[in-house]
Symmetry: C3
Subunit: 429 residues, 3 copies
C-alpha cells in the first residue's frame, strides 16, 4: 500500500470513527428527549432503558448481530460469519478496517432499539425490556438490515436503496415501537372511559428540546458518515439536504400547529424537526435540495396527523416514536422512488418525478412493506415469547407510584437538603 493510499484510508477511518461517535452521542439525545417527554416519576426509568440499549445492544451486536447482518451471505437472507468479529469477513471490502466498520454499525443498532424505548415508556417491565433489546439487536434488526445493506441481501439486489436507514433504521424501529406499544397497552389513565385521550404536560421540556438538538447534531454523523469515505463526492450535498429537511419539518410543524391549535406547539416543533431528519435519511444523497424541503415538510405534517390518529385509536406512544420514526421513515423511503435524481442511485435509474417510471418506486414500496411487516411481526412474536418468562408490564402499584421509585428505588429529582437517616432501618434489617 503506498503512502497516499495509507493516508486516504486513515482519513476514511477518522471520518467514520468521528461520525460514529456523533451517532453514539445521540443516545444522550434520546435520553433527554424521552426523560423530558414522560412524567417526572418515570424519567429515570426511561434513561435506564437507554442505558440498556447501549450496553446490552453493543455486546449482543458484537457477539451475534453483526454476523447475522454483515457476515458471509446465505441465500440473500442472513449472514453467517463474523461472530465476535471472527471468521471470514473478506467479502467486506472497504478502505476502513472491519473493526472501524463494526463501530459505525454498532452506533446504528443502538439507535434502532432506542426508538422502541420511547414507545413503551412508563409501563414496561425492566427485565422484559432487556430481553427484548437482546432480540432486537441480535436478531430482528440485523436480519432485516442484511436484506437491504449486505452485499447480497435480497432487497438490495432487487434494487432497493436506503442511504442511511429511513426504512432499515426508522421504519423498522417505528413499527416495532408500534407493535410493542399496542401489545403492552396504554398507560393507566391515558384514555378516558369515553375513549378520549387525556394529556399530561411533559415533565421537562427544556431537556427534551436539548435532546432534539443533540439528535440533530448526531444526524450529520448518521447521514454524512454513511458514505464511509471522506472522498465521497456527496458529503456536502448530504449535509445540506439533511439540514434543509430538518428545518422544513420544524418550520412546517410550527406553522401548522399555529394554524391548527392556535399556538406554536413545542413538542410538535421538536418532533417535527426530528421527522424531517428521519424522512431525509434514505434519500439524503439522492434527492435535490428542494425535494429535501418537500420531504421534510410532508413528514412534519404527517407526524402531527399520525400523532392524532394514534390517540384516536387509543394506542399510547408517550414520546411519539411511531409518528416520528415509523411514519416519516416510510415517507422517506417512498420519497426516494419519487424524487431520486437521475443516475444518483445508480446508472440509468431515477425517481418517478424524474422520468424513472415506477421501477424504483415499486421496489422501494415492496421493501418498505417487507421491513415494516417484519419489524411489527417479529416484535409481536418476541414479546409473546417473553411474556411467559417475565411479565411485560409493571404492576399497577408500580405504575402509579412511578417506575423510578417503584423499580429503580430512586426518584429522578430530589430536593432533599440533608441526609436520610437509615441507622434505625439498618438495626431492624
Amino acid at each position: 500500500m503506498d503512502d497516499l493510499q495509507q493516508l486516504s484510508n486513515g482519513v476514511d477511518t477518522i471520518w467514520v470513527v468521528l461520525t460514529a461517535a456523533m451517532i453514539l452521542l445521540m443516545e444522550g439525545g434520546f435520553a433527554l428527549l424521552e426523560a423530558g417527554f414522560v412524567r417526572q416519576k418515570n424519567a429515570v426509568s426511561i434513561i435506564m432503558k437507554v442505558f440498556v440499549d447501549i450496553v446490552f445492544g453493543a455486546l449482543v451486536f458484537y457477539f451475534i448481530g453483526f454476523a447475522l447482518m454483515y457476515g458471509k451471505d446465505w441465500g440473500g437472507w442472513i449472514g453467517t460469519s463474523g461472530f465476535l468479529l471472527n471468521g471470514d469477513l473478506s467479502h467486506i471490502n472497504l478502505t476502513i478496517s472491519h473493526e472501524t466498520f463494526w463501530f459505525f454499525q454498532c452506533a446504528f443498532v443502538i439507535a434502532v432499539i432506542s426508538i422502541v424505548s420511547g414507545a413503551v415508556a412508563e409501563r414496561i417491565n425492566f427485565r422484559a425490556y432487556i430481553l427484548f433489546t437482546i432480540a432486537m439487536t441480535g436478531l430482528i434488526y440485523p436480519i432485516a438490515g442484511h436484506w437491504v445493506w449486505a452485499a447480497n441481501g435480497w432487497l438490495g439486489k432487487l434494487g432497493m436503496v436506503d442511504f442511511a436507514g429511513s426504512a432499515v433504521i426508522h421504519s423498522l424501529g417505528g413499527f416495532a415501537a408500534l407493535a410493542a406499544a399496542w401489545m403492552i397497552g396504554p398507560r393507566i389513565g391515558k384514555f378516558a372511559q369515553d375513549g378520549t385521550a387525556n394529556i399530561v404536560p411533559p415533565s421537562n421540556l427544556p431537556l427534551a428540546s436539548v435532546g432534539a438538538f443533540i439528535l440533530w447534531f448526531g444526524w450529520f454523523g448518521f447521514n454524512a458518515g454513511s458514505t464511509l469515505s471522506a472522498t465521497h463526492a456527496g458529503i456536502g450535498h448530504i449535509a445540506v439536504t439533511t439540514m434543509l429537511s430538518a428545518a422544513a419539518g420544524g418550520a412546517t410543524c410550527i406553522l401548522f400547529t399555529m394554524f391548527r391549535y392556535r399556538k406554536a406547539d413545542p413538542p410538535m416543533a421538536i418532533n417535527g424537526s426530528l421527522a424531517g431528519l428521519v424522512g431525509i435519511t434514505a434519500g439524503c444523497a439522492f434527492v435535490s435540495d428542494l425535494a429535501a424541503i418537500v420531504i421534510g415538510s410532508v413528514c412534519g405534517v404527517a407526524m402531527v396527523l399520525a400523532t392524532e390518529f394514534l390517540e384516536s385509536r387509543q394506542i399510547d406512544d408517550p414520546v411519539g416514536a411511531f409518528p416520528v420514526h415509523g411514519v416519516s421513515g416510510s415517507i422517506g423511503t417512498i420519497a426516494v422512488g419519487l424524487f431520486a435524481l437521475p443516475d444518483s442511485v445508480r446508472e440509468g435509474t431515477a425517481g418517478l418525478f424524474y422520468g424513472g417510471g415506477f421501477k424504483l418506486l415499486s421496489v422501494q414500496l415492496l421493501g418498505l412493506v417487507v421491513i415494516c411487516t417484519w419489524g411489527f411481526a417479529l416484535t409481536w412474536i418476541v414479546l409473546k415469547l417473553i411474556k411467559p418468562i417475565v411479565p411485560l408490564r409493571v404492576s399497577r402499584d408500580e405504575e402509579l407510584v412511578g417506575l423510578d421509585v417503584g423499580i429503580h428505588g430512586v426518584p429522578a429529582y430530589s430536593q432533599e437538603e440533608g441526609f436520610l437517616d437509615l441507622s434505625h432501618w439498618k438495626q431492624h434489617k
Copy 2:
C-alpha cells in the same frame, strides 16, 4: 484532478462539515444557556425562539440570504446570485463544494440570530420574532457579511479583517440585540420606580452552565473551522488562542466578582468565558497566545461593567446578549488592530503594538462602527415595520402568567403524576 488533490478536497470537506455540525450544536448551547437564565415560566418560549432561529434561519438563508452575502458582487455592496444555491457562483473558488460552503455559512447565520433571541426573552411576541428572524437571516446579516467577507466587499477591500466574526457575527448580533431590547422595553417589574434594577435568580443554573460548555465546544468549530481547509497552517494556533482567551475571560470574571461582589458569581463566570470566546473570534489566527490572554481578560471585565451599565440605563437584556456579544465582539475587532502579529493578516501589515501603525487599527474601527450602526439601525427599522403588522410584545397578562403557558400552552416543567382528564372539557367544546 489527481488523487492527491481529490483526497485533499475530501479532507477539507469533512473538516468543514464536522466543524459546521459543531457550530450547529451551539444552538443546543444557546437553548440551555437562555432557558437556564430566564425565569422558569418562560423557559420553553425562549427555546422555541431558538427553534425558530434554526428552522426559519436555515430556509431563509437558503432561499435569499446566501445569495445576498456570497453571490456575484454588485459594487461591493451586495451579492446578486446564488438564490437556492443556483446561478453563477464561479467566483467562489474553494477546495470544498459550494454546498459544503453553504452548510458552514448556514451554521453562522443561525448563530447570529440566536444572539438576539436572548435579549428579547420573556416578552417578545412569537410571530413578531419569526418575522424579525426572516429579516435578520435574509437581509441584515447577509448584507453586512458581504461587506467584510465576500470577495469584493467594500470593507474587506479596505483591509478590514475579521477571522471568524467578532464583528460580523457578534458585534452585529449584539447591537441588533441592544436595539431590540431597547425598543421592546424592559420586562414588567425589572426596574423599580426609582430606577433600580430588581433581580430574579436564574431558573436553572446547571442548564445554563452546560449550555456554556456546549458553546465552548462549538467555538472550536467556529474558529478553527473558519480556515475552511485542513491544511491551513494556523489551526493549532487558533485552537490555543481560543482556549486561552476563554480561560482568561472566565478566570478574570471569577476573580473580579470575588473582589467586586465578595462572591464568585456563577452567571458572570459563565458569561465571562463566553466573552473571552467572542473577543478572540476576530483575531484567533492573527494574535499571539499572550495577546489572547489579554483580550480574554479585558473582555471578561468589560462584560461585567457593561452588564452593570445596561442596568443603570434601564435597558433589560435578560441573558446579557449585548455585554457578551456586542461589547466583547467590538473589543475583539479592535484588538486585531492592536495585536495583529506582523504579516499574519497580510504581507506587510501589523497591529499598532507590533509596529504596524494606525493603518489596520483605523480600518478595523471604521468597519466596526459601520457594522454596529447597521445592526442597530436596521433592527430598529425592521421592528418599526413589523409593529403595525403584529404587536412586538405579548400582552400584560401573557407576560405575567409567562409565555410558556400564555403563548405555547405548556409549562416547561411539570410534576404531574397522572393525567389531566379532558373528557368533560371535550363535551363542551
Copy 3:
C-alpha cells in the same frame, strides 16, 4: 515538505484538534454528572469548580504545567523548557505542531483536576479549591505525567505503558480525590453516630445520566485521539475496545445490582459504564476485544464494591470519584500487564496471559504504585500547605444552607415568577 506530507500533517492536526475538543466537552459531562449527583443546594457550587478546572487549569498548564511535563528532560524526573510554549521543544518531534500538541494535553490536564472536584463536593472552600487546582495542574500531574509520557521519563524508560492514561490521568486523579476527601472529612450528616452511612437521593439523575453520555462521547476522543495521528493503524481497534469495555462495565453493574440490591441501580449503571471507560484507557490499543469486555466487567463490579468499602470506612466521596477513577484506573493499568497482545506494546513484549511473563506486569505494578502514592501524598501535602492560608472547608452554616446560596449567592434552581424588589434594600445600603 512535499504535498503529501503537508496533507498528512494537516489531517493529523484536524484529528487531534477535533478529539481535543471532544475531550474538553467532557467538562460539560463532568458538570452534569456531578451537579446531578450532589444535593440541589450544592449544584451550582460543583459546576463552579468545573469552571475553575477549565479556566485556571488551562492557564496554569500554559504557563507552567506543560513545561514541567513535556519540556526538555532533566534526569527523567521533570521537564525544564516550554514555559508559555517558549524555549527549546525540539525534542517533541511530531507531525502536529507544538501548539496542537499543547491543546490536546491541555484537555487532559483539565480532566485530571475535574476528577478531584467531585470528591470534595458540597464542602470544600472555593478559594482553597482554586489553590489546589493550581498545584494539581501546574505541578502534581505534570511531574507524574513526565515520568510516564515524556520522551525520557523514568517510568516510561523502564517500560511502563499507559496508552491514554488509566494510571496517569485516572489513578492519579482518583488517589488525589481520595486524599482530598479523606482530609476534608465527610459532609455533615453523611454518617450516623453508629458509623452507618446515611444516603441522600441524587438531586437530578437525568442530568447525571446525560453527563455520562457526554463523557462517553468524549472518551472516544480521549482514547482514539491519543494516537495523535490519523494514520495510526489502531484507531478502529481502540474505538471498539473502548465501546465494549464501557458496555461491559454498564451491563455488569445493571445485572450485579439487580442481583445484589434487587433493583437495577441507576447511579451504579452510570458509574459502571464510566468505570469500564476508565479501565480500558490504558490498554485500549494493546488488548483484544474479549479482554476489553473482561476489563470492563471487572471494573464495574470493583466499582460497586469499592463504593461500599469507602462508605464502610466512613470516607465520603459524593460522586464516587475514587471508585470510578482510582480503582478502575488501577485495574486498567494492571490489566495491560496481563492482557497485552504480543508485540502490541513493543516488539517482543506481551502480557502475562500471552506468554510475556511477569516483566510487563511488574513494571506496570511499580508504576502504578508510584503514581498512586505520588497523587495521594502530594495532594495531602498541598492541602496541608493551603490550610494555613485559607480554610479547607466552608463553615458549618454555609454547608447547612448549601454552598450555592452560602458561597455563590444564588440557588441552582429558582421558581421565582416575578422579580425580587431590591429598592428598599438599596436605600439602606
